[in-house]
């Protein structure tokens, strides 16, 4: 049995956990003092040695990303924190920032020092106003306490932090789209190369990291690399937040070492709702191919999940029991991707538009067998051919669900209707008879 390891979440139940005083009472900003006494290059080396991998989904080694920055040329370089948490199922950064915003601010200060940035940005999605309040306050408190601003802790290091609110666009979670958005443009992904490390924000070297990655930095600096590498698996080091949601008895945030299995997590979370069987789940948000109960013992680390045919992603474990119609679930996700496609490239813009229409038809019971093939063909036309990963993500749930639950698609077609009672999957009782499902707007 793997133990839970509350590091980031350790102070969340403290009184006014978001306040600077609470944070410092628990040793907050100690790591910053320690970091400012180190050489930036040593900090980068430490994070490299820790094996910390990006917690935003792609899992790119964080230290390596920092190391890509070209040598200092005396001109500005930037740290941008990706706090645009929008991947369906993902809900780890928002509670982190709501409960312990200083963890992030301290991480920002240490990272900025390490990469030589004097201006950092936290790009928060705009749809969480109270989180924005907390972040703004935390930054203000940090300035007032001398953790930010000029000559931090007397080290001579200056840092400004701007907390920026987005305005509702999933695509801004893609790092280059986020940079365009932060520059006041439409959040559409940029061509790579040049990569942000070379030409990022305002065409200057930029590091873009996820909230959880940055928030993990103070503990690595504070407690040491060995402490961090002691957790996790060989190539997936450290701990991370596992967000359980859906038909599970006790949904929520479980901070554990990478490599924990869903079976273990599910046990801690009191099993599935009413003891019903697990039907399918996402290991890391809706863009990752679906898993079933066959994968309960797959270690949740980057390699094992990848080997099993999916992606660890954001560790957003959405669990669905056998009352759930997989076609309905997939249709809704596809509508999401259609709604959130930025429109830049043809495959994603037109492909999601088409997929949504086919799926809606199948779910309504008007589909044909040819439609299932068309779904797969259209997914093939998108996968690997879209400009960014959004298009690829849109196909994951479709191709994996057709592979796993083709019979359910066929049932919809043969019966001319959805074979499921939708009210059964809800958490509350209601009479599902009166009105048919409305199509997503």
């Amino acid at each position: 049995m793997t133990d839970l390891t509350p590091v980031l979440s350790a102070t969340w139940d403290a009184e006014q956990s978001w306040k600077l005083s609470t944070y410092t009472d628990h040793g907050g900003y100690g790591a910053l003092t320690k970091a400012l006494g180190m050489e930036p290059a040593d900090l980068i080396a430490a994070v490299k040695d820790s094996g910390l991998r990006g917690r935003g989904g792609a899992g790119f080694p964080t230290g390596m990303k920092w190391g890509f920055l070209p040598p200092d040329d005396g001109l500005p370089r930037y740290l941008v924190v990706n706090a645009d948490e929008s991947e369906p199922g993902t809900c780890k950064d928002i509670p982190t920032m709501l409960s312990a915003p200083h963890l992030l601010v301290e991480g920002v200060a240490i990272t900025s020092y390490a990469i030589g940035s004097n201006h950092a940005f936290i790009y928060l999605r705009g749809e969480v106003v109270h989180v924005y309040r907390r972040l703004m306050q935390a930054v203000r408190e940090a300035y007032e306490a001398g953790h930010l601003g000029k000559d931090i802790h007397g080290s001579g290091f200056d840092l400004d932090v701007t907390v920026h609110a987005g305005a509702g666009a999933y695509i801004c979670g893609e790092e280059t789209a986020l940079l365009d958005s932060l520059e006041g443009r439409r959040g559409q992904p940029r061509l790579k190369p040049p990569f942000p490390a070379v030409e990022g924000l305002y065409a200057r070297p930029t590091v873009v990291n996820n909230v959880e990655s940055i928030a993990s930095v103070p503990s690595i600096v504070g407690k040491g690399v060995e402490w961090f590498t002691a957790m996790g698996t060989e190539r997936s080091k450290g701990m991370g937040l596992f967000s359980l949601s859906g038909h599970v008895a006790k949904p929520g945030q479980y901070e554990a070492p990478l490599g924990i299995t869903l079976r273990e997590l599910l046990e801690m979370a009191g099993g599935m709702r009413n003891g019903r069987p697990l039907k399918f789940w996402t290991p890391g948000g809706s863009s990752t191919p679906l898993f079933t109960d066959e994968h309960l013992d797959t270690p949740l680390d980057y390699e094992s999940v990848g080997a099993a045919g999916s992606m660890l992603g954001t560790r957003a474990l959405q669990l669905f029991d056998d009352t759930t119609c997989v076609v309905r679930a997939v249709t809704r996700w596809t509508e999401f991707y259609k709604h959130e496609s930025c429109g830049k490239c043809t495959p994603c813009r037109e492909g999601t538009f088409w997929l949504a229409q086919i799926l809606e038809r199948i779910e309504d019971g008007h589909g044909t067998d040819a439609d299932i093939q068309q779904l797969l063909d259209t997914c093939e036309s998108i996968l690997g051919r879209a400009f960014c990963a959004l298009g690829d993500g849109a196909t994951s749930c479709i191709t994996s669900s057709v592979k796993l639950f083709r019979d359910e698609y066929e049932q919809h077609i043969q019966q001319g209707a959805c074979p499921f009672d939708h009210s059964a999957s809800a958490l509350f009782d209601y009479d599902s008879a009166p009105a048919p499902e409305e199509a997503h707007a």
């Binding site: 930025c342 429109g343 490239c345 043809t346 495959p347 813009r349 999601t352 086919i358 063909d377 036309s381």
Partner: protein, 836 residues
């Protein structure tokens, strides 16, 4: 053939060698795969890619299979197909296109299918049908039947973006060529992507289209004083580069199909850039003009005026047969021989060549060729004047002009061959503009300067920063008209501007307006000498440089020879096979008109001059002159006073040469064969009838002579001007100094008959600085300008950050015909009154 010089440069350029479809090719480092493929003759389908725009990678049509060596040098295939329009070629790369890779073929076919699901099946009514990249590629790479059985996206169609440009959003494939052109090339970001995802579309900020709730229906949002949203001078290029029929022009809408059209290459007659165009015509009528690809001049871009202003030549007042004034005082159609005979007879009398006692009373003939003629025509006019009429009274400059300018042109411009080029402009670290607005007066010159945006410093001597200058991020060296010389003189050694100009390759551009500012051209020469910057003269009209080369100025003989120098005259006389050339100094255009008006000229030969463009009262002069011969394409106001009117061909119906401002010969052939003849041919007839064989009957004749004459030798040259810097007039009371220039789209005669183009022009306003406005008691509303001339100009005021004591109005925009109404050139004082 590779010369040694080429080899040398090839060695200095880093190259990479890659294999495309089994063909090995070597290209400069940084070349995109799609370009490299083009070079070995492999066509990869594409929509968003355009060689002159930054890569976008949006349409994904150009996906190819790529394998490249990794760090260890093992060639490894990319896991997914790559966009060849965004990926640079690498050494050792192996590229397989749709011709050799199923993966690439599948990818392209998949994208094609997706592009077509929402594309309407309206090719039969689409203007692009028949020359549409999407149609072609759908045919060659697409499925024969659509698998899409669902609901297509529909939009209202068409949506006018301006009076000229129409948008059909259903057809749009969102390649963003138009928005990228507008932003990157023209600097007019009036259109952009709107909405998101499947509902994404191109557009202006239009509340109704985008569903914004306004306080009141105000329609398309205002972008400038004109209130028009897409009022870019270059908007027509977006139609040409649109790979589908999403952007079309109102002028060409439903007029024709590509297979109807005969395409002839040509050169635009609208400005001195010499932009290469394609004239598409059907049954003798021009239906549209397109930009041609000429990398050294206009690249692939032309102005909207170049593109859309061609209907002037086919209006109902087009002359087809000669007209001769009969005894009844009316003009009657006549045969060419009759008309020529009559013209010759009249001119003989006026020039005193009849050999009768009446010759003593003859006061001579002046020749006014206008500024839009070809070099061949200009040569014919001046030779006609000097040989057939025995006078130096010939001047192409029917605009503001001075002796200083003539000296400047003779010493610096004429016979100097290719000087500063478009490429030099692009490379110049600093460009100083004096009396020249590149966007309004230079057409594609502006685009070349804009191309260097960010790497080039632009300085402009002007009363205020025009929109064009703003788009170049220009630094203003403020000067009141008339005070340009002082402004140029003030750029002294240590000054910031002077330092910039000293950078190797810097250029000073002077415009024709500087002729009206005493000492300015002399100062420009001094500044060039002082800083080492090169000097370029960019006139506004297409024929000016050619006329200067051909010697159609009173003091200039062909090749830049000084007409007052005996050696030059002798050389020319010998070449022409005549005894001598007239010695008396000729009069310039204004002086010729003044002489005619005062009755000291007996005859005028006039061609291509629009009376309303002149500050002088040409009508009065013509009325007073005994005998007037007019050579015109259309029946203009001049015909009212002409005794003989000879119809001549517009540029599309004749061959000829425009010399652009660079000094580049821009020869063009006849686009449409008609019976119309060139000015030079008409003058050749007339010359013979007057007893002089001018040998200017064909373009070849003229060019042969010009080649033989060559450029002036040192002793034949005109001396450079050295005129003391003049001072700007002092504004006093309600008298302000007039500033003015022609906007690109205005009411010039060559834009007649094209309402859609006119609709994109900027509304005329009178610009005043806030301080000046306050001083003369103008708040807003309308001001009236008078200059004691023939009329007044009433325009709405636009308060502008500009020099005090100055009022700016456009030279010939609707409601603002400066020359005709005020009768003064910029720099003069005009009375400005407000409060109407």
């Amino acid at each position: 053939m590779t010369s040694t010089a080429d080899k040398a440069t090839a060695e200095t350029v880093d190259t990479v060698t890659l294999t495309i479809d089994g063909k090995e090719t070597t290209v400069p480092k940084g070349t995109l795969i799609i370009r490299a493929a083009e070079q070995v003759g492999i066509d990869i389908p594409r929509f968003c890619d355009h060689p002159l725009l930054a890569p976008a990678g949006a349409c994904r049509q150009c996906l190819v299979d790529v394998a490249a060596p990794d760090r260890e040098g093992n060639v490894r295939a990319f896991p997914k197909p790559q966009a060849s329009c965004t990926m640079q070629a690498m050494d050792g790369m192996i590229v397989n296109t749709q011709h050799t890779s199923d993966e690439a073929k599948n990818a392209q076919e998949g994208v094609m299918e997706l592009l077509l699901i929402n594309h309407p099946l309206d090719c039969p009514v689409c203007d692009k049908g028949g020359e549409c990249p999407l149609q072609n590629q759908a045919l060659s790479h697409g499925r024969s039947e659509s698998r899409f059985i669902d609901v297509k996206r529909v939009f209202e169609k068409p949506l006018p973006l301006s009076s000229e440009i129409l948008l059909d959003r259903e057809r749009c494939v969102l390649c963003q060529r138009c928005t990228r052109f507008s932003k990157e090339i023209a600097g007019d970001a009036f259109i952009d992507l709107q909405n998101r995802g499947a509902m994404q579309q191109i557009g202006t900020f239009d509340e109704d289209v985008l569903g914004f709730d306004g306080y009141e229906p105000i329609g398309v949002a205002a972008e400038d004083e004109s209130g028009r949203a897409f009022s870019s001078y270059y908007s027509g290029n977006t139609v040409q580069i649109c790979p589908v029929g999403a952007l079309t022009s109102a002028a060409y809408r439903f007029r024709s199909r590509p297979f109807d059209l005969v395409s002839s290459p040509g050169i635009s007659e609208h400005d001195s850039s010499g932009a290469a165009i394609r004239t598409d015509h059907r049954r003798g009528t021009i239906l549209r003009r397109l930009s041609d690809n000429d990398p050294v001049v206009n690249e692939e871009w032309i102005t909207d005026k170049d593109r859309f202003a061609f209907s002037w030549q086919n209006l109902s007042d087009r002359l087809e047969r000669p007209l001769v004034r009969g005894d009844d005082g009316e003009l009657h159609e006549a045969s060419w021989p009759d008309a020529i005979a009559r013209a010759a007879e009249g001119l003989k009398a006026a020039a005193g060549l009849t050999g009768t006692p009446a010759d003593k009373k003859a006061k001579g003939v002046g020749v006014l060729p206008g500024g839009r003629i070809t070099m061949e025509d200009a040569y014919a006019y001046q030779k006609f004047a000097r040989v057939a009429l025995g006078t130096n009274d010939v001047d192409v400059r029917t605009r503001t002009a001075s002796d200083e300018e003539q000296e400047f042109l003779g010493s610096t411009v004429a016979g100097s061959g290719m000087g500063v080029t478009f490429a030099d402009l692009e490379k110049a670290p600093t460009v100083l503009l004096a009396g020249f607005e590149p966007e309004d007066e230079g057409g594609v010159v502006f685009l070349r300067l804009r191309k260097a945006y960010g790497t080039q410093r632009v300085l402009t001597v002007a009363p205020f920063l025009s929109r064009g200058a703003e788009k170049l991020d220009a630094t203003l060296i403020q000067a009141v008209p008339g005070g340009e010389a002082a402004a140029l003189a003030s750029i002294k050694g240590a000054a910031d501007a002077a330092e910039s100009l000293q950078a190797e390759g810097s250029v000073i551009i002077v415009g024709e307006r500087l002729a009206g500012s005493p000492g300015a051209l002399s100062e420009a020469l001094r500044l060039a000498k002082r800083t080492g910057a090169r000097l370029a003269w960019i006139p506004r009209r297409a024929g000016e440089r050619g006329a200067v080369e051909a010697g159609a100025l009173p003091g200039l003989l062909p090749g830049g020879r000084d007409a007052t120098a005996a050696s030059a005259r002798d050389a020319i006389a010998k070449a022409w096979g005549v005894d001598s050339l007239p010695e008396s100094p000729g009069r310039n255009a204004a002086e010729i008109i003044a002489a005619a008006a005062s009755g000291t000229l007996s005859g005028l030969v006039i061609g291509g001059v629009t009376p309303s463009d002149l500050t002088d009262d040409l009508a009065a002069a013509l009325a007073r002159t005994d005998f007037v011969v007019s050579l015109e394409v259309r029946r203009t106001d001049v015909a009212r006073y002409a005794d003989v009117v000879l119809p001549v061909a517009p540029p599309s119906e004749k061959p000829g040469t425009f010399v652009n401002w660079e000094g580049r010969l821009r020869g063009f052939a006849t686009a449409i064969r008609t019976d119309a003849i060139s000015d030079h041919r008409a003058l050749d007839f007339l010359g013979r009838e007057l007893g002089a064989d001018l040998k200017v009957g064909t373009v070849a004749d003229v060019n042969e002579q010009l080649a033989l004459l060559g450029a002036a030798g040192k002793s034949e040259r005109v001396k450079a001007p050295s005129v003391k810097a003049g001072k700007a007039r002092k504004a006093a009371g309600d008298e302000l100094v007039l500033a003015s220039w022609h906007l690109l789209v205005d009411e010039g005669a060559l834009q007649d008959g094209e309402p859609y183009l006119a609709g994109t022009g900027r509304t005329a306003v009178a610009r005043l600085s806030p301080a000046t406005a306050e001083r003369i008691g103008v708040k807003d509303g309308v001001v009236t300008l008078t200059a004691g001339g023939r009329g007044t100009i009433e325009l709405p005021v636009a308060l502008t950050d500009m020099a005090d004591g100055v009022v700016w109005v456009p030279a010939k925009s609707p409601g603002s015909w400066v020359a005709q109404e005020l009768g003064v050139h910029p720099g003069a004082l005009v009375r400005v009154k407000g409060g109407i």
